[in-house]
Amino acid sequence: MSWMRFLHRKRSDSELQDEIEAFLTEETADNEARGMSPEEARRQARLKLGNPQKVRESLWVQNTPQRLAGIARDVKYAFRTLSRTPGFSIIAIVVMALCLGAATSLFTVVRSALLRPLPFRDPARLVMVYEHFRGGELSYHPVAPADFYDWRSKTHGFEDMAIMRPAGYNLTGVRNELPESVQAEAGSSNLFSLLGVQPALGRDFTEADDQRGSAVVMLTWSVFERRFAGDAKIVDGQIHLDGKPYTVIGVLPSWFTYPDAGIQLWVPYKADASPEMLQHHDWHGSHVVARLRPDVSLASAIAQVGAIQYQNHLQYPHDPVAEDVVSRSLNEDLAGDVKKPLMLMLSAVGCMLLIGCLNVANLLVARGAARQKEVAIRSALGAQRATLIREQMAESVLICAAGGVGGILLSLGATEWLAKTWKDLPTAQSIHMDGAVMAFACALMFAAALIAGLLPALSTTGKSMLKALQTSVRTGSSSVSRTALRKSLLTAEIGITVVLLVAAGLLLKSFMQLRAANVGCVVDNTLTLQYNLPGNNYDTPEKRNAFNEALLARVRALPGVHGAALGTTVPGTGYWGTDEFTVKEHPPLKTDEHLPDALTRWVDPGYFSALGIPLVSGRFFTRDERAARSYKVIVSRQLVQQYLAGENPIGKHLHVPGRAHDGAPDLMDWEIVGVVGDTVYQVGKEPKATMYFPILEGRSDAMLAVHTATDALLFSVPLEKQIASLDPELPVSDVLTMDQIIGASLVNASLSATLVLAFAILSLILASVGLYGVLSYLTTQRTSELGIRMALGAQRDQLLQLMLVDGLRPALFGLGLGLVMSFAATRIFQSMLFGTKPLDPLVLSGVIATLLAVAVMACLAPAWRASRLDPMKALRTE
C-alpha cells in the first residue's frame, strides 16, 4: 500500500492542491457571509490555512518512504560525483565490467559442466561403476562384459545396471548415398529406461533386440536432422552400417548427447559382440552405469559388487581380472578431466575480481581524502555514521552496477566463445546463461560493491575523522593513516597479482614444453587419414592386403612424398588398446603378480622408416610376414627395458593371450624380430611399452600417414583421389596433419595457459595503475614537505630516490607475500603441469623481473615529477 502511495504521490499532490483551493473558496465564502469584504475574506482564509506549501510538503514526506528517498538522493549525488570525473569513472567501470564478465562466464561454464545435473531422471542416484586394480593408484578401469553380467545378476544394491561400449560404422543409405564413417555406442537394452530417456520418435530397445545378430539401430537427433533431414519416415526404415541393412527403430531426443555429442547411432550391446567377448573377464572396454536403490547406501551397493568382482579375480588368477570396483557419480564422470582446469580458472578469475575491487577501493580512498573535511563537518553537525557510509557506498555500488551490466553483456559473448573453444567440455551445447547465472552475477556485483566501497567508507568516517578539522592543512599529517591503508591495499593487490603471474608462467611453460615435446617420430609435413575396409567387399585378408598394398604403392609413387606409413594408428593420436603378455622364455609369474601389458599396434613393413622411428636392433617386418605366416612381433625399447632388461630380446617369444593366430587359437606366441625407438601415444605422457604386429595379418582398419616434402595439407586431395580410384565407395575420415592432431590434443593446455595469462596481465596492469595512483597522490600530499627539503638543500637525485623507495616498498612487500602465497597455491594444480614444477626458477625469476620492472615504471613518473618540483611553488602550495 505504501508503494502505491509512493508511486501515486504526484497525483496525490495535485489532488491536494485542488482540495486546498476548495478549502480556500469555502472559507472565503464563509468569511464573506460573516460580512467581510471579498479581499479581507480571502486574506483571512489564507491566514487560517497557513502556508499551503507546507501542507503539500508534509503530505509529500508522508507519501515517501524515507529510507528510499535517502538512497535515491545518495545515488543521485554519487552519479553527479562520478560524472564530474568521467576518466576515473570509465576506467573503474571498465575494470569491473571485465572482471565481472569473466567471472560470470566462467561460472556459467562451471555450472553447466560441473554443477548442473543432467536432464536424466533423478540423476543423483546414477553412478558409473568401474573396475579397479588394487595396488596401483586409483584408476577408473573399463569393465569387462562378463564381469558386468555377474554384477547385474548377483547383487541387489542397484535398481538396475546397464552397459555400453564405443563402436564405429560406415554409414550408407539404402540407395548408396555418400558413405560416412560415424561414431556409435552399443548399449544394453535397459540403458535408456535406466537413464529415464524416452525416444523422441519410435521406440526404445527391447530385451529381444539385445541379441547377437540383431540389426536394429537408434539415431541421435543430430544425425537424424543432418543426414535424414528430420524426416520421421526414417523410423522403421532401413540404413546400411558396414554394408549390412539395419532397421531404424527410434530417434533419441535432441538434448540427449550422452556420453558425448559426437555419438551418432546406438545399437544393442550384444548385436555384434562375439560370444567370446561376452564371456571373457579380461575384455575390458565397456562402461557401466547403475541406478542406486533409494533405500541402499552407495557404499554398501558398491561393496556387494566389489565382493562379486573379487570372486571373479580369484577364479581367473592368470587373467587381468580386477580385484575391486570403484564408482563415481555420473555427473563427476562426465566432468572428468575438465574439473581441475575449470576450478583453476575460476580461482584465477576470482583473484582478478578481487584485484579489480581492491583497485576501485584504492581509487575511492583517494577520492575520500578530498572530501575528508566535508565529511568531518557534516559529522560534527550530527550526521550519522551509517548515513555517511551509505552515501560513500553509493559510488561503488553505481560503479559495480554499471560494470555488472557491462560484464553480463560481455560474458554473453565470452561464454559462447569458451564453450566453442574448450574441447572436452561435457554438455558443451547446453552452456548458456539463465536465471541462476544472472542471480550469481548480481550477487557478485553486490559483493564487489561491498568490498570496493566499504573499506574506503569506513576509513573516511572513522573516529579519527574529527582530527581532520583540527589538523592544519600544511602538515598533511591527516592523510598518513589513509596512505597506509592505500599501501596495504596495494600490497594485497600486488601479492595476488604475483600468484596469478606465477600460475600463468607455469602453465605457459608447461604448454611450451608440451608443444616442443618429442613424439618420437616425424611430425612436420605429415598428413594422416583413416579408413575402414567394409566387411562385405573385403571379406578375406587377401582382399584387404591387396587394397592396402596397392594404396601404399600408389602413394609412395606420388611426386613430393618422402614416405608413407600404414598402421592402425600413429604416435601421438591416443592410447587405443593394450594387451597383456608374458615372455615365454621366463619362468611363470606368481599367482598374485599382474601380467605386464603393452600398447598394441599393427604396422606395415615400411612404417618405421617412413615415420623416422629408429631401429634399435634386429630388423623391420618383411612383406612376407603376412596373414597366417605372421608370427613375428616388433617391440619398443621401453618394453625391452621394462621386461627384458639385460637380455637379448631378438628371438625371444611373447605369449599374448589376446592375440591368437587366425585359425590356430592355441598359438599365441610371437617371436621378437626387432626393437624400435620409443614413441608417445599422447603428448605429455611418458612412453609406454609397445608391441607392433604386422598389419598384413589382414587388418581392415587403417591410418595412413604420409610424410611429404612441402605443406602436407596440399596432398589431401591427391591422396583421396588415389583412394577413390582404388575404391570409390570407401569413406575416408579425419584427414589431418600430425601438427593438427597434436595441436588439438593441446588445445586445452593452451586455453588454460592463455586465459590465466590474460587474467594475470590484466591484474598486472591494474596493480601498476594502483601503484601509480598511490604514488602520484603521495607526491601531491608531500609537495610542501618536498619544497622544504629542497629549500634546505636536498638534491634532486635524493628526492627521486626518496619517492621511488616509498613507492617500491609496497611493491616489494607484495612481491614477497605473493611468492609465499604462490608456493602454496601452485601445489594445488601441480598435476596439470608438464616438464616444470611449482618452484620453477625460470618462471619465478621471470615473474620477479616483470613485476619489478612494471613497478619501477609505474613509480618513476610520479617520483620524477616530485624531483622536478619548483621549490618556490612547492613552498607556496597549501
Binding site: E19, A22, E26, E27, K48, L49, V55
Partner: protein
C-alpha cells in the same frame, strides 16, 4: 479570530485521526466541513491546522478507513468528500473505547 491555547493543540495532535473518523460518522464531508465541525463541536477550543488535516485525511484513506470522491459542496462548488468505510467504523469503535479508558484514568489521577 482569537488565538487558541497552545496546550490544547498539543493534546489534540494524537487524537486528530479519531476526531476525523468521529466527524465522518455523522455523514460524508469535505475537508473544510470536517475542520469546521471539529472546531464548532469543541466550542472553538480546538483549532484544526490545515497542515495536519490533509495529511491525516490522506493517511486515513491510505489505511482504508475512509474513502473519497469528488462531488459538489453545499454551495455547489467542487470539493473532495470523505466517507467512513466499514473498516473505519470498526476503528472508530476501538479508538473511542481506548479514549474513554484514558480520560477516565486521567480523571481518576487528577481527581
Amino acid at each position: 479570530m482569537p488565538k487558541k491555547n497552545q496546550s490544547n493543540n498539543e493534546m489534540f495532535k494524537g487524537t486528530l485521526d479519531m476526531m476525523i473518523l468521529r466527524t465522518l460518522a455523522g455523514g460524508d464531508a469535505h475537508g473544510h466541513t470536517i475542520a469546521k465541525v471539529i472546531e464548532r463541536t469543541s466550542e472553538d477550543l480546538l483549532e484544526v491546522e490545515q497542515g495536519s488535516l490533509y495529511p491525516a485525511l490522506h493517511r486515513l484513506e491510505d489505511r482504508r478507513w475512509v474513502s473519497s470522491y469528488w462531488g459538489a459542496s453545499e454551495n455547489n462548488r467542487k470539493a473532495k468528500f470523505y466517507r467512513l468505510t466499514a473498516e473505519g467504523r470498526k476503528q472508530l469503535v476501538r479508538e473511542t473505547s481506548r479514549w474513554r479508558q484514558m480520560t477516565r484514568a486521567s480523571g481518576l489521577v487528577m481527581g
